[in-house]
Structures are given as structure tokens and as C-alpha cells.
Amino acid sequence: MSLVSLVKIRKEAEIKKGITDALDLTQYKLPTNIKNIVIKPNLCYYWDYTTGQTTDPKFVAALIDLIRERTTPTVDISIVESDASAMKCKYAFKMLGYEKLAADYKVKLVNLSQDPYETAQVTAGKQSFNLMIPKTIQKADLKINVPKIKYTMENIKLTCALKNIYGCNPYPKKYRYHSRLGEAIVAINKALKFDLHIIDGNIVSGIQPCRLGLVMASVDPVAIDAAAAEIAGINPKTIKYLQLAKNEGLGNTTYIPKGEPINQFKKGYPKKNIKNKLMNNAYTLVIRAGLGKRLGLE
């Protein structure tokens, strides 16, 4: 079983200590003999961190400080993201505060959709994918994932560590994979194995944004997602892609929690109630029936 740490922070000034404690609880040591590090935050559209939808640049800044303290001050750091159907990195980096972060901390911003890439044939479950593998990620000595915990309207139920790596797919029209999204998420994680996963759970989205003050860390993306699912009130066993990820050798769905008790975060997470679940199901049905526009919902 893998270790998953859970740390409570009470204010923004404690973010760096929260990350430090979370890493120490997982007994993870940052390698010192590295040259290139990639950090993948979750940038979703142009919604800033206060919505709980995107990684707070202050969280990434604290992580960069810690990395430089524990490795070398000159280590080369790239923050990576790719264009999506509705989001262009050049605007997201600017609007969400990452351009300023890059200037202040002298790190690179890389739009993976414009990065050189190689292709790789990867299978997950019964599906096969021809994936683009960005060079910046391929050549990195250390890959750190900094996701958010979010519900999603798609049938995968939860967006967290594994799903955030799906955002490294340089192909902007990601809806192309949505009919087999679970398999695509697992395939990309097989191709781009990230070394460390640190969840920015200071503000989480849930059914509404909420300051949860949570920092989680693990080297196992499946385990950290299973713990995140429990916090969000979802039984990890009902998330099919987590089971697939486990079967494909990406990690374990069982874990050993370290640090604060998980229940305190479960209580605080703004979970879906019956009304939300009914509305979501009704909405999904309407959209699938192609009635969204006619009913003014799209």
C-alpha cells in the first residue's frame, strides 16, 4: 500500500510548510542530482484559484521555493499546460497569474500544444491510443503534478491527479477522447509517469468553492485519487478509471493515510446533495438527448 499524506493549513502563509510537511509524511526525498523539473498545475479555462477550479499560483510558488531549497537554486523548472477546446494557454497563463509567477521566480512556461513531441502507441483496457508525448516532459528529470479535487459532469465523476495528467495531452480538441475518457486518462498516465503528486486543496470547488485548507501528497496517483474521492464523498470503487489504473499497474486503490485524519476534510468538503445529484443526472440526460440548446441550457 502507498502512503498518502494529509496536512491542514489555516492560512496562505502556511502553504509552504503544508507542502513540506506533506512531503515529509510520505517520506519522499526530492532528488538532488537533477537538472530539469516539470510542474503540471491544473489550469482550467480562465477561472482563477478562488473558484477552486485551478491551482493557485501561490501554491506553485511555495513549491518552487521548496524545490530550490532541497535541490539546487539553479535547477531548471518548467510549468506546463496544454491548450484545450475552450482554453488557450497564452491567455490562461496571463489571466491566472502564471506569467507573473514565471517572471518573479524565473521559471519557464511551456504550452505543450506547441512543444515538439514524439508519438507513442499506448493501450489501456481494451482501447489503443496514438498519443503525442511532449519533449519537455519526456526529458524532465522530475515530474510533479499539482492537481485540484473537482467533481465533473462527465461519467468519470472525479477530477484529480490522474485526470490532471490528461491535460498534458497536447492535442487541443480533447473532447475527441470523451467517449473513452477513462481509458484515455489511464493511457496518458502510462505514457507520462509523474513522480510526485501534491494536491492543492486549500480552496476546493465541490458544489461551491470552499476553503478546506488541505495539502495532500503521494508518489502514487491512484492512491491519492482514491483518498481524494473519499474526501469528495465518492466511493473510489465506483470510479471505473481508478480500477483500470490499478489494473494497469499505475498504483493502488488502497493506501495508508498519514497526518491529519481524513474525516475532518470529508466533513468540510462541499459535497453533492440529493438535489445536486438529481439536477446533474437530469442535465446529463438532456445534453445526451441533444436538447441542451433547445432548452436554453447550452
Partner: protein, 328 residues
Amino acid sequence: MKTVKLGIIGLGYIGKVHLRHSLKIKNACVLAVADLSKKALNKAKKAGVKKIFTNYEQLLKEREIDAVIIGLPTHLHLQCAKQAAEAKKHIFLEKPIARNIEEAKEILSTAKKNSVRLMIGYPLRFNTAFRNLKKEIENGIVGDVEIAHAAYISTGPFLHRAEAHTPIPVPEWWFKKELTGGGALIDLGSHIINLLRWYFGEITDIKSLLGYRFNLDLEDSATCLAKFEKGTRAVINVGWFSQGYHLKIDLYGSVKTASAQHTPSNPILTAVQMLTTGTSKFYQPHYAELQYFVNCIINDQSPSPSGEDGLKDLETITQAYKNQISLD
């Protein structure tokens, strides 16, 4: 009674709203639409539009068309409106009238020279709550309005789909000040300034404090202080920064206070309204303004808000941009 034959130019977000309504308004029919998107054009054809064009100049050559509804990005208003006027088409033009005063004046002079009607799309003027508020002011029910508070806070162009919070792509021109003429102040502020001018007459002085939360070249919020010729002072807050939607006017008069607001319906009510009436309560003012525009053409009347209104609003906004204040 005459049927007004309409052409719709631009099938982006607002163009689609206008198309949906134009197909239902009385004494009008949509003869043609023009847009670069073949997908949007095909949908329009399926909805019953006879002719579709990827070039609006071809649409303007259609002799049968009496009037055009222009829902293009702001930087294309001048060229399109001028060509429409020269083709002797009456014009319904989305706000803001143009990117700058020079362009707005050119649109006005071309419309005048060619004797075509020009109306600017300000749907708040057709919203029942805001119309009732005007009646209260005119009938002396509020007394002398000393102070007005107006707020229009929304996502701006950063829209998401109603329930799912699934993001909708933002057209690139929205990010470029040289194409939009400005940010939240010109986009949302033009609605508020037009409405307040309708209530209280001309603005004699205006100052602005602009916000740049999203680090763009254009402002994503603005607070304006305005003084009207009749003495009313107004605080105007507009912003693109919120996932919430708030559009409200509060009036503080010598007799009483009064308010009006525009609120989105819940998704279930919207779905029912869409099925029964073809539009939702939220978009009812958009429907009403098009019906009014068509009636103006049939009755040979000058529409209001007019092109002159659009110019005056833009002059006021330009003054607000020039008179920026800062707070430490």
C-alpha cells in the same frame, strides 16, 4: 401589413440569440444569414432561413432584404454598417456602436446620408423591471433621485454552459483592446450608461477607476462616478470577474428608494419557457427590442436607442477612460 425581410450578419453568441428571436417575431421573416462558420449557417438553414452566405457582402446584395441585424465583433461594425447603409438596408447594430468616436460618427453619417434607420441593441431598455423604474421616476414616485447605484457584474465573455460550468471558447478578438475598444467598461458599462442617460439625461462629468484582476491589457472591472445634468450622482460598477450574475439599479430619491434588477431564471424554468415560448424570461428583452425595431421600420419611425444614443454613450465612456483616478 408589410412583412420586414431581415438579414442577420454574424452568428456568434448574440447573433444566434437574434436569429432565434427573429424567426418568431411578428411581421418579419429572416431571408438570409451570413457568417464564416458553415456549421452555424447550416443550423440556420435547418431552422428555416432560405439563404446562407459566408460573405456578408453577398447578403447585402439581396435586394429583397429590408433590414440587417449586425452581431459582429466591434472592430467590424464600421465596415459592415457602412456597407449595409450604402446598400439601403435599415440597421440594428449591437452595442457598443463602435470602437471609438470617429468610427461611430462615420456610421451615423453614412446611415443619415443613405436615409436608413439605425438602432443600437440595448435590451435593458426593453426589460419590464427597468421600464417600470423609468415610469416611477417620470411620475415623481421616487422624487428627486439624488444618488443612483448601478451594478452589472458577470463572467463577461468568459461564459460557461448553464448547469455544467463547462467552459465555452472565447473568440480571440475579446482579448485584444484594439479590436474591442476596451474591456468591461465599454462592454457592460455601455448598457448601464445608456440606461441611466435614459433615466436622468446627459452626463456632465464622469470619472473611472479601472481594475485588472486578470492581467490583460483591457480592464476587467470598472467603478465610475458620474454626475448628470439634473444633479443626480451615480456610482456604476461593472465587471467581468465573477461566475455570478448581478444586474441591478438602486435609486435613492427624495421620496423613496426604488430598485430594479434582471435575474437569470433557474434551469428548469428556462427549459419550460424555451419549450412553450421559444425564448426564456432572461432573453425576453432581446426579443422585445427586435419586435420594436421591426415595428419602427413598418411604421417609418425613428428607433430609440438610436445611433445618436450609441454615439453619446461612447463619448461618455471615452471620457470615463480619459478621466481615470487611482487610489493607493
